[in-house]
Point group: D2
Chain length 253, copies 4
């Protein structure tokens, strides 16, 4: 599966009683269908994955599947701390028609989350999954990051096709791209560093900014891939201006 | 509910296929029943709460309820990121006969977990819960800590009766005890600082060390409460010796 | 040198032009001379060591030496990143009549500050110093902490007689005391955890709170050493109340 | 002063007795004089600034001044915690013929190093300095970072002409460039993210990698400024390969 392009990680709308508002989810998707986005991430961090029950998650996956235009790639967020549950969710998403699973690092028992433990988790999921996987590293939420050597090791598995790198630490992004084999796909999660990431060899982005600025993100993507660097820099500045980054406790010192 | 004493946070045994081994759980409890522990925490971090399905959790709660001697206090770990799910789990534990719920801070969206957000979560759960709550602050796993001002505020709710403070940061423990009203019960989660915490006014401990050294922990508790400080210090040294603390990434610099 | 008791780390007074106000320093010392403090730390972190020139530091040392009552122990802060300069400062303080040197960990090149590097620094200083040393671990300023194994190793040198442990992490304090040989003296730097530290075996404190509350700190010290635990706990609460601890970026999560 | 280009931050050679080896310093500079580097940073972090006495620092500055070719820009590292001492060093460097001063953030009293305190330090130094200043933000050593709003404020002072940004956090670099006025010069300190930084608008780099790979760094700089992006990316990969980045405790999670 080719993951070049911009993927909005869909938000999950609720009604005033706190129940899912699937009609509004579909409305959002209908609007995104008209843009140049490459596909959707459904039940990612931006979709409040950790706040939804398993039943709600399946409802969201089903609704998004129905609303998405047929040319859009569908990525399901399926990663939880439990390896068994991650496999179950991944294969349920596959049944529902999703093309790729986005598998977050396990993270609760941080002290024990060595590279070896992460490797075992990912390899077990990859072996059992009926769709290919993206590694998902998001240390601002999990407190653990995936480094380049682990990515290079995972990339050898035919069913692990890429990574969503959300730390935004450019050294890490650069080294991941450098050490992974050709064909391994690095998507980034930070809109404010999208152009420099593309300059280093990222293939696309899963950008929360694409939820509210899909056209600008797509234009920036196109400037990057067409080699129009002056335009890319100008659009990147617009994106920085409109989605100002705030350092917080989860940010690097 | 009086929570003075030592509470082992029960481990969850699995068989070789990865299924729950409830018979071994009951055997463990039968052995602890013979000791002076005050009760049990069932489905805490040590019980691998985040790796179990909701159905498995209920099986563990039920089995532990059956095995526990009638004089033991039962504390159920019920906290998850979702407020609604935390309430549901808390009231299910109440139905199953649990006396107290241990409610972990929400934590995934760290940047947004201000004291106000935590307060709203705890007050909603406390309003809806049919059993009293312990706040559970465990920054080594969650990356967020509860500070004394929030505890002092929460302690006003009749249904929030104490805190399990697992950061082990003694300044924080001291200030929580100092600022909370009389009757609010502070339990600590660190065996290696149990005696100094008791010296400052903690009422007991939920100690992983009590899983493998229940008698030593109970003896230390009794030395503390009887005012036998030389003996307390000696037993504390034994506990330090046998459960050596390792600084890690989640520890203070 | 016996270091039991309370040591205020003296502040360095300046006049309105930013020059040293040595007369005011002496006035402060004259007042402290009337209290039960065991001695003084001169040119510690509280004395703004890093902001003073070498010439100013010697002036402060000389003035404090003159003003200090003859029964007070004098501890000079002499540690800087350079081993050679630390030795030079330590022996200059010895010439001026100081009894002990407080030697901060080197810290600027954090990534390289392994336990081995710290050990080499301390052993070289200890070999060359004409007065005994206290290790000084203050991670809230330096970003590096000294752990118990290194302390146990350093404690074998006859000229390294103790540690000022300012992280306040009670697990670390407990393990340092537990692993160091008898006679090694642990002083703590945190007023709000002074009583629990004494309960674990600390011999005294270098407490900034002793600059403005010397009598209260001395009373607390005496309650601890006389075994009057109820009074110690009460005085500790007063100290917590009057010197409220604020978690900040340098604090443990 | 135009700071476009590559500046090696010179190492300080010592002989076997630990004394300065100024002849070897000059030999190094003679070799760099033959390359396309734009100038030198003398007494930066790479030059072991914090380990040298004031007298040694002046010897190094003098020797480097003598050896540097007349077309090279000379930047002196002059920042220490003390504002007065920073001014004195800066003006001494000016007397010795240095063109620009690199002024590290004060950092020891981390909790008090608010943006306002940093602003006051920089404005006082800028007012008193006889040469223009570069702000120097290097949180991996200091534990404190300079954020874009402070940079934007400082950039209004005519004597603060740029920043050396060594955190390598691309969001921060992007926002600094975006918010600073035109003409403010951003140099970066991380070789492995040099090309993406240039793509965002940095004017050059102070790169430790330029100490051992000066030609490669200069080639990369030239590929960036000539708009040859494919070549820039290729050279950047070579630089990543040859100066592998290791995440450590000072790195972002």
């Amino acid at each position: 599966v080719k993951l070049n392009g911009i993927f909005p990680p869909l938000t999950t709308p609720f009604n005033q009683e706190g129940a899912l508002a699937l009609d509004r989810l579909k409305e959002n998707i209908n609007r995104y269908n008209e843009t140049g986005v490459a596909g959707y991430v459904v039940i990612g961090s931006t979709g409040e994955s950790v706040l939804l029950s398993r039943a709600e998650i399946e409802q969201v996956w089903t609704a998004a599947r129905q609303a998405a235009a047929s040319d859009k790639i569908l990525i399901a967020g399926t990663g939880v701390d439990s390896t068994a549950e991650t496999i179950a969710r991944t294969n349920r998403a596959a049944e529902l028609g999703y093309h790729v699973a986005l598998v977050k690092t396990p993270y609760y028992y941080k002290g024990q989350m060595t590279a070896d433990v992460h490797a075992e988790h990912y390899l077990r999921v990859a072996d059992a999954a009926r769709i290919p996987l993206l590694i998902y590293s998001v240390p601002q939420f999990t407190g653990v990051a995936v480094e380049a050597p682990l990515v290079a090791q995972m990339a050898k598995h035919h069913n692990i096709i890429g990574i969503k790198e959300s730390s935004g630490v450019m050294q890490r992004v650069g080294e991941i791209i450098h050490r992974a084999p050709a064909g391994f796909q690095t998507l980034v999660g930070s809109a404010t560093t999208f152009y420099p990431s593309m300059a280093l060899g990222a293939v696309g982005g899963i950008l929360a900014a694409a939820d509210f600025l899909p056209e600008l993100c797509v234009e920036l993507y196109e400037a990057c891939t067409s080699g129009d660097h002056p335009r890319a820099r100008k659009l990147q500045e617009q994106l920085i201006e409109r989605s100002r980054w705030s350092p917080n406790s989860a940010s690097p010192a």
